[in-house]
Amino acid sequence: MSIDIKAVTMTFGKTTALDNISLKLEENKIYGLLGRNGAGKTTLLNLITNRIFPSNGEILLDGEQVMENDRALSKIYFMTETNFYPEWMTVRKAYIWTKEFYPEFDAEYAASLSEKFSLSTGSKIKNLSTGYQSILKIIISLASNAPVVLLDEPVLGLDANHRELFYKELIRAYSERPRTIVISTHLIEEAADIIEEVVVIKDGRLIMQDQVENVLSKGYSVSGTATAVDSFVRGKKVLGVDTLGGLKTAYVLETPQKDSLPEGLEISRLDLQKLFIQLTN
């Protein structure tokens, strides 16, 4: 299912959390929603699931308004950072109740994932550590079989092994049953190879939406003496510069032309993490 965000603005009192954002998320792609803390990632996800109401604009799921629309909302599973489960609820009960609201929920798969992550299904959710609360929510999100899955900081508190397991299970679930997935994260490096397309927001504004591959082929850094670098990057889209003594490095967003590189300049590709830091600085 595709999501259409049309000219959405969200203000809280005097602060503008999202400023006239328009973007389209296509069916069955894995998206990375990137932005620094407070950029508006969670606000955007909250709006897509109608947890809050936009000050302006509209959001459509396959052409239907999501606002107060059960047909649309029941197609989306949103893994939030905050835990909204009642005090008394155990992991097992959470699975049972999710099945009530998401009939496609695969209880067997949830059980097997619990085993893989060694999450004990008898525990009360409120007694789980942050990491295991994330794991529980990851399992429910993957097993929900919702056509749209939104994950807000899914690896919060997870150790390296569990993160690895999560990414693998995400790909497995996605390969077996393609769905639209949005991963909001600031751990970009880890997720970079899983994401097909990135959406970068900064201070509530959309600053980039592109295929990861395109983005990577565009960004490069060029370093050398300050004068050489300066003359080389003139007229190009420079995201930022670093100087270390006499050495200057410029971060450029353009397809690099290696042939036109003057002597004495070094060019190297930017990975997603570095590019992101330059973009959002």
Partner: protein
């Protein structure tokens, strides 16, 4: 097999080269099945679309082919094809950068030829 995620080469290209290497090394014989896109994307932790792109490159080059409903198989003569292409690319990939780095370090043509001899004798 290992993919280098910090390399300048796109992941899908690295993936198809890895598979070519495995074919050259005899890990996948001609007419043998290679792992599915899903298996590849899970074990390398990469987006299935990327894995598909890598495999499709091999299909386009005639190195592997698809058997409907069964999976991907190594074509007859795949090894030859890979060797031919790699030889063609050898100059572009190694000699050009060798010469450019040599110029930077003011290494002469004669020095390089000597080094080459040493390398072959090893």
């Amino acid at each position: 097999m290992n993919l280098d995620f910090s390399s300048e080469k796109p992941i899908y290209l690295q993936l198809s080269e890895e598979i070519e290497d495995a074919i050259l090394a005899g890990a996948y014989q001609e007419e043998a099945q290679i792992p599915s896109t899903t298996e590849i994307s899970i074990s390398y932790r990469i987006n299935p679309a990327t894995a598909l792109k890598g495999i499709n490159r091999l299909v386009d080059d005639g190195i592997v082919y698809k058997k409907r409903g069964l999976g991907m198989f190594v074509s007859k003569g795949a090894k030859e094809k890979i060797l031919d292409t790699r030889k063609e690319n050898f100059f572009e990939m190694y000699i050009t950068s060798l010469v450019s780095e040599a110029k930077k370090l003011s290494i002469t043509k004669e020095d390089i030829l000597k080094m080459l001899e040493r390398g072959f004798d090893k």
